[in-house]
Amino acid sequence: MKNGAQYIIDFLLKKNVEVVFGYPGGQILNFYEFLGRSALRHILARHEQGAAHAACGYARATGRPGVCVATSGPGATNLVTGIADACLDSIPLLAITGQVHLRDIGKDSFQEADITGIVTPVTKHSYLLENLEQLPSVLDEAWQVATTGRPGPVLIDVPKNFFLEEQEMRLTHQPLLTRKTKKPDQTEEMLPLIIAKIRKARQPLILAGGGLIAADACRQLAELVALTGIPVVNTLMGKGAYPEEQPQALGLVGMHGLAPANLALNDCDLLLCLGTRFSDRVTGNRRNFANQACIIHVDIDGAELRKNVDVQYTLQMDAAAFLDRLLREKDWRKNRGITTWQKRIRQWRQDYDLPRRFTGPLKPQEVIQEAARQAGSEVIVVADVGQHQMFTAQYYPVSRGRCFLTSGGLGAMGFGLPAAMGAAFGRPGETVLLFVGDGGFQMTSQELAVIREFNLPVKVLIINNGKLGMIRQWQDVIFERHFVASDLPDCPDFVKLAAAYDLPARRVTVREELADAVAFALAVEGPALVDFRVDPEELVLPFILPGGTPAEMLGRWRGETHLRGFSGK
């Protein structure tokens, strides 16, 4: 006979869960009692939000579900941002929360919150356990829901009485998913059509999304590009799906996408979209999105097809299976028609490259460029949310999936530090580079304690401009420099804060100290922090204003800044 707590712990161990991130509290103490006696490793975050983001960072870095645990009421509600982040970025996450005793539910008991009600819109599914017999089926199904199809977060709310209640437990019914009716597979009739379209295209382009990384389809994508020479642009979540140092990689598209990538998107005659969901940050004006192109959309989630953008061909399919099927086709090489297109793209890349040399005050871009030069592609790069996130997406070439972690869909400031910590637990021995703004860092800086406690090799690189940079950028460009609430006073002293957490730290204020400081952070064994004081006037460019088109792109090329829209091609 097992009690509920033991059953949950054994279930997680059976699923090879190595570590859970959590924070105890009254209603989940009984669970912790047994957790403490088990082989399951528990990491005490310093805030439940940190636990959720850490579990998410772990899942992003490993591909395995992250698990987080919290108590009822405030513990559970503090998880919500992390859960919503996992939902928008399709990250497998299992959240287990304690709930008040079953008989006290609905009585506004101490630390009671209707957490399943709260998280319904931001989970794939959620459960409130109502009797112990359900537990095996609920766990089994929750795991299956979180990890299959399009991955996502699942929450199980467990009233405290079930942790101690004992019962013989076995699967009482088949997991529900097996009852679902499946749609007939249309793959085989669609594929020849799609393949013919790809072959015929003169200006084809691949839009690589995060689904490729979730499906472990990066190798197949690289093979297809090697065979066909089709250029690749990526979404923020798709960064790393195709090695960015390859000649066919054009990098990020969308609002802050690189000019050649956005121009290619605008002019392509065929757009093969893999594992992506046409976020407004990618499409800009939806009606003008790739409007010269025949769009083919492949996604595992059928509800994403034709949700945001009208496309000609849709296929509900796993990206890896789709690419495998394409690779079985012979004679890809025969398509020589795209060389003119490739030449045009090469010209764009020459004409509209990002600025690479900087003068005047230290710029955020050069910090990222220098870190990339020294650390290369053998590290895990984590970016928090804001200007530095976009600069990282633009300036840090990533060559593998699961090596660039960021809160893409939700854009949750404060994600960075706990996610970096989760990634470090998931991939021990690998260095984690965290780029974080002075704003986002202060949202979750308490997790420095965990990084110290376990001596995690997380290098905290604060891109500190004393501003909420992205807010300021919008106020600069859109609100005619009317700056409101985007100033951060010069406080706290991050180097002293690092000292309080016993972390080696430095401050960099001028270009001459940059290389040394990056080298210092990388050389230190374990964690380090560098506070880079950068120019607050710097804008993330290119910039397509919300609802805009690539033709309206603001940017800076060949030393000139164009803030009135992109004029020449």
Binding site: G117, T120, K124, T181, A303, R306
Partner: protein, 159 residues
């Protein structure tokens, strides 16, 4: 366009709020929604009438299908179906008008289920068009109160 979805769902607590939440969150317009038990105690049936263009309706079907608690979604709008609603209508009626109202109820095969001194309650069952016709006919007498169910529907023939 107005479409009718027949949705089979797991008879789990919270399933109604999950489906209702989905509609409000995605901005879909519910005209009516009926939930009830089925021949299988572990499943419930929802009949949902939705207003929207083709793209919205496609999304409604797909988003419903994505819900873990949803077993099966059928858009039965263009199928041969039997569909029914039930209405209780309290109509003002005195000695002068009572007879006329009774005649109307007879024409529509409605039933009078309660009679008071100044009013009576008419029970009407039928599809949307019939219910509308009944309401239109009774309106001149003064409708004091009305309670209506949403629509339930089932495919004809076969099976």
């Amino acid at each position: 366009m107005r479409h009718t979805f027949a949705v089979l769902v797991e008879n789990n607590p919270g399933v109604l709020s999950k489906v209702a939440g989905l509609f409000s969150r995605r901005g879909f317009n519910i005209e009516s929604l009926v939930v009830s038990e089925t021949e299988d105690p572990s499943a419930s049936r929802m009949t949902i009438v939705v207003e929207g263009d083709a793209r919205v309706l496609e999304q409604v079907g797909k988003q419903l299908n994505k819900q873990v608690d949803v077993i099966k979604v059928n858009d039965i709008t263009n199928e041969e179906t039997v569909s029914r609603q039930l209405s209780l209508i309290r109509v003002a009626a005195d000695q002068n008008t009572r007879q006329e109202i009774l005649q109307i109820t007879e024409i529509f095969r409605c039933r009078v289920v309660d009679i008071g001194r100044k009013s009576l309650i008419v029970e009407a069952t039928g599809d949307e068009a019939k219910i509308q016709a009944v309401i239109r006919s009774l309106k001149p007498f003064g409708i004091l109160e009305m309670a209506r169910t949403g629509q339930v529907a089932m495919l004809r023939g076969a099976k």
